[in-house]
C-alpha cells in the first residue's frame, strides 16, 4: 500500500553524487538513434507531449488554436499521433475541455497559485477545486519552495497531501521547480517527499525559471521513482518540463527513461514532456527523416 499522508513514513533520502550523475547522463547523450528507431522514437515523443500555454496573455483564441493543434499536429503527414494533453491555466480548462472532446487528448491544469505557489492553502485548494470542477483530467501543482528551502518539509508534505485529496479522479503532477532547489540533494529530497505525499507524477519545472529540465535533474528524479518502485511496486510518472526544445534531447530523455525505469514507463501514461516548441521540432525531424530534406519552420504552424 501507498503510505499516503504519513510524513513519518518518509525515508531519509540518499545523497546524490553530482559528478557521477553528470558522467552517467553524458553517456545517454552519446547514443545514436537512426532510421526506424528514430521515427518510432519521434512519434513516441509527440504522443508524450503536454502542449502548453501558460502566459498572462493567453486568450481563448490562443487556447482554441493550441487545442486544435494538439489533435491535428500536421495533417499533411498522415499517421501521426495526437499529443498526450494540453496544459493551461484553470480559467481556460472549460474551454480546452470543450475543444478536445473525445479525441483522447487530456486537459491538464496548473494550480496552487502557479507558478510561485506563494498563496495561503485555502486559496490553493479553491484554485485546484475550480480546475477539477471545470473538468481537468490532470492537475499540475507547485510545491512551496520557500517552505521547502526553510526546512519545513512537513508543511510541504501536508500541502501536497491535501491537494491530492481535492483532486479526486484527476491525476496529480507535483512540480518541484528544480531550478530553485539549488542542489541535486534537494531535488532528490523533494522528489521523495512528493511521491510519499501522494503524487501520481513528479514534474521538474514550471517553465518560468532557468535552468529547467536538465538531464541531471531528470535523472535524479527518475532514480527516486525507481527506488520507490523497488520498495513498493507502485509506478510514479515523470514529466520533465521546460528547456526540452529539440528532438535529439527528447530522444535522449527517452533513452534515459528506458534504461532507468524500463519499457513500462515508455507510454504517455507514465512519461510526459512539458513543452511548447518541442512539437514543431519533432514534426520537422519526422518530415526530414521521411523526405530526406531539411525542413523550414515556415511550413509549420506557429505555436
Amino acid at each position: 500500500m501507498k503510505n499516503q499522508n504519513n510524513f513519518n513514513s518518509l525515508p531519509l533520502s540518499p545523497s546524490v553524487d553530482k559528478v557521477g550523475v553528470e558522467e552517467r547522463v553524458s553517456r545517454f547523450q552519446k547514443r545514436s538513434i537512426k532510421t526506424n528507431s528514430k521515427m518510432d522514437g519521434l512519434k513516441m515523443v509527440l504522443n508524450m507531449i503536454d502542449l502548453t500555454t501558460l502566459e498572462g496573455k493567453d486568450t481563448p483564441g490562443k487556447v482554441r488554436q493550441m487545442c486544435y493543434k494538439a489533435i491535428h499536429l500536421h495533417d499533411s503527414f498522415p499517421g501521426l499521433p495526437t499529443v498526450a494533453a494540453v496544459c493551461v491555466y484553470p480559467s481556460m480548462v472549460g474551454l480546452a475541455k470543450s475543444m478536445v472532446k473525445d479525441s483522447g487528448v487530456k486537459v491538464a491544469s496548473v494550480s496552487t497559485a502557479f507558478p510561485s505557489g506563494q498563496a495561503p492553502l485555502d486559496v490553493k485548494i479553491t484554485d485546484t477545486k475550480y480546475a477539477v470542477d471545470q473538468g481537468a483530467d490532470e492537475i499540475d501543482m507547485v510545491i512551496s519552495r520557500g517552505k521547502f528551502l526553510a526546512g519545513e518539509y512537513a508543511f510541504v508534505f501536508d500541502e501536497i497531501a491535501q491537494i491530492k485529496e481535492v483532486c479526486g479522479q484527476a491525476r496529480l503532477k507535483v512540480i518541484l521547480e528544480t531550478g530553485e532547489l539549488a542542489t541535486l540533494d534537494n531535488v532528490r529530497k523533494a522528489s521523495d517527499l512528493a511521491i510519499y505525499a501522494g503524487a501520481d507524477f513528479i514534474k521538474t519545472s514550471t517553465g518560468k525559471i532557468q535552468p529547467a529540465a536538465t538531464m541531471q535533474v531528470t535523472y535524479t528524479m527518475l532514480m527516486a521513482i525507481r527506488d520507490y518502485y523497488d520498495e513498493t511496486g507502485i509506478m510514479i510518472g515523470m514529466k520533465p518540463a521546460g528547456g526540452i526544445s529539440n528532438s535529439k534531447l527528447a530522444l535522449h530523455n527517452l533513452v534515459m527513461v528506458k534504461e532507468l525505469l524500463g519499457d513500462e514507463w515508455l507510454t504517455n501514461e507514465w512519461f510526459r514532456f512539458g513543452a511548447s516548441s518541442l512539437a514543431n521540432d519533432v514534426l520537422m525531424q519526422i518530415l526530414k527523416t521521411d523526405t530526406g530534406k531539411y525542413q523550414s519552420s515556415d511550413y509549420f504552424t506557429i505555436d
Binding site: G292, K293, Y294, Q295, S296, S297, D298, Y299
Partner: protein
C-alpha cells in the same frame, strides 16, 4: 634531419565560429604538381544543416542593420583584406597562380568589395519605383532581402569568384551559406577569417569546405534556404533546379569570367531581392491637390 612541415588544417566557418566538420573527415588540398599544401575539412550534410540554422538566426541581425552600417562593414572587409593581402597572394601562388596574376586577383577582389560597399545604401533607391495606379493609393515597390541564400562558390577562381557573388548577396541584407571552391579552397577559409575580423555578425556568412557533389543536395533541397547562386557547373544545373523546386527556391546561375571588370553591377544585388509593393491609401490620385 630535415624539419617536417606542419600543414594547417583549415576549419570551416559556421555561426561565427571555426569548428571542425562534425563528420571528422578531411581531405588534402593539392598544388598543381599534386603535392599536399593543406588539410581541408570535408564538410557533411550536417555541417550544411548547422550552417543554415546559423544563417537563419543571423538574418534578423544582418538585415536589420541600417543600409549605411552594412556599407561600413563591407568597406571594413576591404580594409582588412588589404591588410592581409600578402597572405592571400601567397596562397594563390601556392595553389598554382603566377605572381602577377595572384596580385591582380587580390587587388581586384578588394576593389570589388569596395564597389559593393558603395551600393549597400543606394541600390534600393535606384531600383525602387513609385507606380501609377488607378485608385486612391500611393503605390510603391521596394526591395527586401530574400533571406538565406546558398552560394556554391565559382570553381575556377579561388578568391575573386567568391567575392564577386558573396558581396552582392550580403550587401542586400541576405545571410549566406557558402560551399567553398573544392580544388582551390585556401582563400575561402582565410577570407572567412577576414569576415570574422570585420564586424560581420556571426552566422551572416558561413563557409563550408568539402565535396561539392556531396553537399549540393542537402543545400539545394533545404526548405529553409530561400535562394541559390552558382557559377559554371552547367552539368549540375538541371539537378540543382530540380532539387530547388519544392520550396520554389530562386535559383540564379551565372556563366561568367569573374576576372572581367564588367562582372559587377546592380543586378547581382537585385537578383537576391524580393520586390515588395505597398498600397498606401491616400485621398486623391496624382498628388496635384493641396491635401496631398
Amino acid at each position: 634531419m630535415k624539419r617536417v612541415e606542419i600543414l594547417k588544417t583549415y576549419k570551416i566557418y559556421s555561426g561565427g565560429n571555426f569548428p571542425r566538420t562534425e563528420s571528422g573527415r578531411y581531405y588534402l588540398a593539392l598544388d598543381k604538381k599534386g603535392n599536399p599544401i593543406a588539410n581541408m575539412c570535408m564538410g557533411s550534410r550536417k555541417d550544411v544543416r548547422n550552417a543554415v540554422v546559423s544563417a537563419r538566426k543571423a538574418l534578423g541581425a544582418w538585415s536589420g542593420k541600417t543600409a549605411f552600417n552594412r556599407s561600413q562593414i563591407l568597406y571594413r572587409i576591404a580594409e582588412v583584406l588589404e591588410g592581409r593581402k600578402s597572405q592571400f597572394i601567397e596562397e594563390l601562388i601556392l595553389q598554382g597562380s603566377q605572381k602577377n596574376i595572384a596580385i591582380k586577383e587580390v587587388e581586384d577582389s578588394i576593389d570589388r568589395i569596395v564597389y559593393y560597399a558603395g551600393w549597400c545604401d543606394k541600390f534600393c533607391q535606384i531600383g525602387s519605383s513609385v507606380n501609377p495606379v488607378s485608385s486612391s493609393h500611393f503605390n510603391f515597390s521596394t526591395y527586401e532581402p530574400v533571406g538565406v541564400v546558398g552560394l556554391i562558390a565559382p570553381q575556377d577562381s579561388s578568391l575573386l569568384g567568391l567575392v564577386s557573388l558573396l558581396m552582392p548577396i550580403i550587401a542586400g541584407g541576405n545571410t549566406c551559406v557558402v560551399l567553398a571552391n573544392e580544388s582551390l579552397p585556401l582563400c575561402s577559409i582565410t577570407f572567412s577569417e577576414v569576415l570574422h575580423a570585420s564586424d560581420v555578425p556571426g552566422g551572416a556568412v558561413n563557409i563550408i569546405t568539402g565535396h561539392i557533389s556531396e553537399l549540393i543536395k542537402p543545400l539545394s533541397t533545404h526548405m529553409d534556404v530561400n535562394a541559390l547562386a552558382f557559377s559554371g557547373l552547367s552539368e549540375l544545373k538541371k539537378e540543382i533546379d530540380l532539387f530547388s523546386v519544392e520550396n520554389l527556391k530562386r535559383v540564379r546561375s551565372y556563366d561568367l569570367n569573374w576576372q572581367n571588370t564588367d562582372t559587377q553591377g546592380l543586378h547581382y544585388i537585385t537578383d537576391f531581392q524580393e520586390v515588395k509593393t505597398t498600397w498606401h491609401p491616400i485621398e486623391n490620385i496624382g498628388g496635384a491637390t493641396s491635401t496631398y
